[in-house]
Every structure is written in C-alpha cells, then in structure tokens.
C-alpha cells in the first residue's frame, strides 16, 4: 500500500525533480510530465519551530518540519508528524493549506484518504 505523490519527471532523461521548474535541471529540456512517484522516503533531519515570521502560524506552534529524502531521488521540505524521528521511513501526502497552497506532510503511515484512493 503506497500513497501517491505527483512529481515532475523529464521524459528525455528520466530525472525526477523537486521543487518543480520549467526546465529539467539535468538535461535542460522542457519535456517534463507529472508522474505518480512512490511517496516514500527517509527522514534526514527534523526541527521543531518555536518562532515564525507569519502570523497565520502563531497558534500552531510548535510546528515540526523535516527534510525527507524521497526514494525517487529529490529531497523535500515537509511538515512531519511529531512522533517521527530522523532515520524513520515515512510516507508523504499532499494537501491544501488554509492559504490555498499545496503542502506536503510526512507520517509513518500513508493517510487514510490516499489508502482508500489507491484501493
């Protein structure tokens, strides 16, 4: 059971990249497509934020944020379940935040919605 994450893939050289851009950072072509990459990876590092520059986050502190090395190649900045630790295997899920931005969250288990979708 794997949750699904849409990432940019270059159809010329095969590189999967994140953050997305208008060119492939390896071969510089613009032959990019969105692909369903395995949303699994390993936690590289975690921080617990007690200070934010954005008032909309004031009430949510402390916020746990991680760098996760995806099995498909890139490293993503993401929210993470506070129970996770560096070195853990995690699943990444995308959602929309209150400002309408797509954000990624890592957790030990794939989210229920993603499980249901993939069944």
């Amino acid at each position: 059971m794997t949750s699904i994450l849409q990432l940019q893939r270059c159809t010329t050289c095969g590189k999967i990249q994140y953050p997305p851009r208008e060119l492939c950072s390896a071969c510089l072509t613009d032959t990019l497509e969105w692909t369903a990459a395995p949303a699994t990876g390993t936690v590289l590092a975690i921080t617990e934020l007690h200070h934010t520059h954005e008032p909309s986050f004031y009430t949510q502190q402390p916020i746990t944020v991680a760098l996760v090395h995806l099995d498909s190649g890139p490293t993503v900045v993401c929210f993470i379940d506070a129970l996770c630790a560096a070195g853990d295997r995690v699943h990444i899920a995308a959602s929309i935040d209150t400002a309408g931005r797509a954000v990624l969250t890592a957790a030990a288990q794939p989210p229920a919605a993603a499980v249901a979708q993939s069944q």
């Binding site: 953050p19 007690h50 954005e54 760098l67 090395h69 490293t75 070195g87």
Partner: protein, 383 residues
C-alpha cells in the same frame, strides 16, 4: 594565477544598529564617504565599484552610481549574500590587476526597518517562497536547524560544542566596540536559552540589523603613496551550487576547492593566525573548519574540543565577535570577516588585536535557498 601586487586596504564599518529608518543607499553611500575620509582619496578617483545589498532594490548598481554621483568604469553587483565580500575582493583584484580600474571600492550594506527582514525572507527566491515558507515560515532559522540536526546526528557534535564557539565569540565582542551584543554570555546561558527552531536556541541565531562594511582594492604602490596599511591576497576560491546531488548539505563548495586554495596560497591551515568563518549559525563554522582542512571531515567536534577560540586561545576565531555577537547587517555579513581580518593583519584591531598576526583566512557562505546554502568563497590574506 596570483594577484601580483594588488592589495586590499582601508577596512571601514559604518556602525551597526538594530533598526534603521535610513535607506540602503544611505548606508552604502555613507560607507563610501568613510572610505574617502580614511584614504584621503577624492570621490572621482574611485573608478571601480563592487556593491552588495539586499535592500537597495528596486535600485541596482547603475541607479546607485547616479544617486551618489559616481562615474565608475567597472561596476559589479554581487548578490551572493554571505559570500559577497570575498567575491567582491576577487572581482576587484582582477579588475585592478588587468587595468580595467585603478581603485575599486567594495561596499556591502543593508537597512533594517520594522518589516525588512520579514519581507526579505518571504520573497527570498521562488524555491524558498513556494516550497519552504509555507512550512511554518521559519526563515533561515528553520533551514539551519535542519542542517544542525543532521550534523549532530551524524558527527556527534553537541550543543555544548557549538556553545563553546558562541561563548568565545562573545568574549571577542566584549573587546570590540563595533559589536552590537556585548553582554556576558555563559555556556549555561547558551544551553538554556529559549527555543527558536530546535535544536537551535536563541544564541545560535544571528540577529538581523542595519549597517555597512567596505574596503578598497588597488596596487600596492598606490596604497603606499596614500600611507594606507594594506594586506596581500595570497589565494581565493569561489563556488556556487556545489554537490547538488547530496541529499542534505553536510559539506560546502569549500571542500571542492580547498586543495586549490592552499596550493596557490603556498601555506597551510597550520600557518593561519586568525580564522574568520561565516557564522550566521555555529554549525556552518564547523563545516568550514572541516571543509577548509583545519581538521578532517566529520571531526569538527574534536577540533572544537581540542582548541580554544577566544582571546589568548590556540585558534583565534571570529576575532571581532563574528556575526553571532556583532549582528548581521544583511549583505554586510559577507564583509564582516574580511574587514576584521584586514584590521588584524594591519594591527588596527585595538582591544581585540591578536598579536603578530601574519596570515588570516576569511570564509563566506551565502544564499540559503530551498534546503541549503549555495555560495561559498574563501580568501587567504597576508600582512
């Protein structure tokens, strides 16, 4: 290729302040006035200008030249953050060496109003704005917390090790009237400070402020005729976006270029009398110790434990207090270590002078973008 008889001289600082309602142009222009006062040069004799500033926008270098009534024949804008000072030195030295300019003023400065830092961080780059800011808007504290967490897990370096560096820098700052943070700081204060972005606490994090630093580059004969104490440039390196395939940053571009640096300098790390690392967060100082060859990779913790970095110590480090005790005046943070090294080498450092300083290393690190710092540069200077 070496820099022949090109020298750097006239280090000046427009004293930093926590907040300023002046514009970046005021800070940069005032720095140029200080350079003229220090050197005795007329404004019209400055025919090259290397500028760095985050808050000069929307103006760039040419509108700024008009603003201050200068007509340079070499004009560089170097948006490389903490690496801008050494890169300015490199660009200026080659321009003088090759005859494109006779006297180059290198200036970095920024203002810091009520919302300056927030606006700068929120709009720093497309990657940072769209793929980091939405995750708690922690700014550089957040990025460096992740790099620090990783370094602690993988090398065994502890908060006490980082604290040792911070406390030593505060001891230097207490001898430097230009440093903004001069109160007593103990290791206990450091360890028990309020959390900011764990594992980082308050004294791990540089304090944004306003200010400017500057120096001049010219032929030695010219500096001598002006009676200006000067320093020689033994070697420099510069690298951008090094090791892009490392999943997390545990080394910087210094590691790629350190052999070149020491080869051209024709001295080694053991010959360096004062080390000025880029220190917006202490983990980055440790990476510089390792990547520049002061110790082996992943042995930074032992290097910190086996040396003393404050006044009278075995490895005088960030001898003006660094940014952690001096403040970070935007792009001027990329000049702070350079002007401090120039003061040490010309015996102008006053109460924080390290006796008999012959060789200095200055290192820069800039542009924290997405998950890592992109720009590195280093200079080895000699009296």
């Amino acid at each position: 290729m070496n820099y022949a008889d090109v020298v750097a001289c006239a280090p000046i600082t427009v004293p930093y302040v926590r907040r300023s309602d002046k514009s970046a142009a005021w800070w940069l222009g005032t720095a140029l006035r200080h350079l003229l006062d220090t050197s005795g040069l007329a404004k019209g004799q400055i025919d090259g200008l290397c500028l760095s500033s985050f808050t000069l926008a929307p103006d760039g270098p040419a509108p700024f030249a008009q603003y201050i009534g200068l007509s340079p024949r070499v004009l560089e804008f170097l948006p490389y953050g903490g690496a801008c000072g050494i890169i300015a030195l490199r660009r200026a030295a080659r321009a003088v060496q090759c005859g494109d300019a006779d006297i180059v003023a290198c200036i970095a400065g920024d203002t810091n109003g009520a919302n300056t830092f927030h606006d700068l961080v929120a709009q720093f780059s497309t990657f940072s704005r769209d793929y980091v800011w939405p995750y708690g808007a922690g700014g550089p504290n957040q990025s460096f917390a992740l790099l620090t967490d990783h370094a602690m897990r993988h090398t065994g370096v502890t908060r006490a090790d980082f604290g040792k560096l911070c406390v030593a820098q505060r001891q230097w700052a207490q001898r430097n009237p230009l440093a903004l943070l001069r109160g007593d700081l103990t290791l206990d204060d450091y360890l028990s400070a309020r959390p900011v972005a764990l594992p980082l606490r308050l004294y791990d994090c540089v304090m944004p402020c306003a200010g400017a630093d500057a120096f001049l580059v010219m032929h030695r004969a010219h500096a001598e005729s002006l009676g200006l104490p000067h320093v020689r440039i033994l070697a420099t390196i510069e690298r951008h976006n090094a090791y892009p395939d490392d999943p997390i940053q545990y080394r910087g571009g210094w590691a790629m270029d350190a052999p070149t640096l020491w080869h051209h300098a024709a001295i080694g790390p053991a010959d360096i009398d004062v080390i000025q690392t880029y220190d917006d967060y202490p983990v980055i100082s440790m990476l510089q110790f390792e990547d520049l060859g002061f110790c082996a990779k992943d042995s930074g913790a032992d290097f910190i434990r086996n040396n003393e970095f404050g006044p009278g110590g075995s490895r005088p480090h960030n001898t003006g207090g660094g940014q952690l005790s001096g403040g970070q005046a935007g792009a001027a943070g990329g000049f702070l270590g350079l002007v401090e090294a120039m003061r040490q080498l010309t015996n102008q450092a006053g109460a924080h002078q390290v006796p008999n300083t012959r060789h200095a290393l200055v290192s820069g690190f800039g542009m924290i973008n997405y998950d890592r710092g992109l720009c590195t540069a280093t200079a080895v200077l000699a009296a």
